[in-house]
Amino acid sequence: MSQLQSVTLDEIKHLVSDRALEGETMLLNMGPQHPSTHGVLRVLLELDGETIVNSIPDIGFLHTGVEKNMEAKTYTKAEVMTDRMDYLNTVGNNLAYCLAVEKLVGLDVPIRAQYLRVILAELQRLASHMVWLGTSALDLAAMSNFMYTFREREIILGILEMVSGQRMMTTYIRPGGVWRDVPAEFVPAVRDLLKILPKRIDEYESLLTKNPLFIDRTAGIGIISGADAIRWGLTGASLRGSGVNYDLRRFAPYSSYEHFDFEVPLRTDGDVRARYLVRIEEMRQSIRIVQQALDKLPEGAIRSSNHKFVPPLRSEIGTSMEALIHHFKLWTEGFDAPAGSVYVAVESPRGELGVYLEGDGGPKPYRVHFRTPSFDNLQVLPVLAKGTLVADLVAIIGSVDIVLGDIDR
């Protein structure tokens, strides 16, 4: 077993100011076991009194080898790995990966499957924002929000379980469509959820938005301008909180997002509070999208009929010899994807989730790389935290909404 790292001050002198070397400022270690770092993030802080002079994130405590492991699995089997990267956005990860595979082999997805993907991805976005809201408010000592948001999150997880049999790691979206059609009780269950959600979101807001303590802890803290946010590669709500209108669902629509009418919430303050307000509004917009998708949900096939790449339905196997052969071939050796590389990006709850997929003509990917939003958003932390108090760092980490599984993969 590897030993604990020990680092001398000499080795990190390029990261801290000269005053740290003279002993004028203090170096403080935060994490990797810390309740407010949202996982196993370690931040090395250089402090002048209680003011942060430098903050150096140390990542890799959750490095899982997902990308390397996917190279050893067929295109279909590799998908289960994507669930476990950003574990608050499992459906979105599946969607990004499946879009990449479909682009590589050239598969068309039936419109019903596309709509189901949108519904589930937006429900997942709601669930993810609920976890973010609950935990980041908890970091600022607002306990009750956590209880309320997790109450509604359970309903969403119940719906995911209804369609896929699993609460979190659904793998419901598959290359070429979805795993199987949704059960009859799916649409009524989602409609029931949509009925109560707007009121519940108002309830979350009533606890925080105008709460003077919450405003004190969030307004004017961790400010970044729109131009700086672009330079640092921020995406998602962290970018839109600085007034940059960039949402992939609007500007590079995928999976029929262009069929739905929704707004991209924007704030110009660029502080913790702006990012909070953007995410709250995003939850309302997600409800609108799910509502429209349910209303327009067409009947029809749920996955592509190109059985060279997509397994036939279970019902066909009993009656068609070809279907049985395809089934056998696809589940034993998989399909050969053409050599070439593709890049596909989707809007995850945290920002732009990109998948770079390279095939070498065989049944396994040659290289899979993820451009994960948390990784790129985290690098802005030293900029946001400079000059703030230690207690504010917790608010800033919460507002950037990082998931360590997404960063370390």
Binding site: M1, T64, G65, K68, M81, Y87, R167, M168
Partner: protein, 160 residues
């Protein structure tokens, strides 16, 4: 039907010291607030309103290992994290217990590769393994109750 009906006139209850100690250990077991990956979200769900672990005296999660009795290893343990997990375990005061929550903590799960420790029992002794990827909150609660059963069977001569 409470303890007062058993008290009798003298207000005295007799019990074995072992049973009394084990009873108090199981009913106020403080877990460490320490999540690693996906399972930590389900651990939080087990704490939240729908599953409410406080029914088992476990609502108080301590962020400091010095104040906790139980370490729930919730998620995959990477090679970089393993020494940290061990140090946290060493910092916990005795008596202490470990639950390996989920497949990754139990045996590496789907990640059989260079980065993930193939089961946290390579690093710390584990009392209860909870299967699932991730386990449902009910499964975690079942694991906790199983641990309570185990603690209730502990005998004084083994404490030493």
């Amino acid at each position: 039907m409470g303890v007062e009906q058993k008290l009798g006139e003298m207000g005295v209850v007799t019990a074995k010291l072992e049973d009394l100690v084990n009873w108090s250990r199981t009913n106020a077991m403080w877990p460490m607030l320490f999540g690693l990956a996906c399972c930590a979200i389900e651990m939080m769900a087990a704490q939240a309103a729908n599953y409410d672990m406080s029914r088992f005296g476990m609502e108080l999660m301590r962020p400091s290992p010095r104040q906790s009795d139980l370490m729930i290893v919730a998620g995959r343990v990477s090679r970089k994290m393993a020494p940290v997990v061990r140090r946290l375990y060493d910092q916990m005061p005795d008596p202490k217990w470990v639950i390996a929550m989920g497949d990754c903590a139990s045996c590496g799960g789907v990640f059989n590769n260079y980065a993930v420790v193939q089961g946290v029992d390579e690093v710390v002794p584990v009392d209860v393994y909870v299967a699932g990827c991730p386990p449902r909150p009910e499964a975690l609660i079942h694991g906790v109750i199983t641990l309570h059963e185990k603690v209730k069977k502990e005998r004084m001569k083994d404490w030493a």
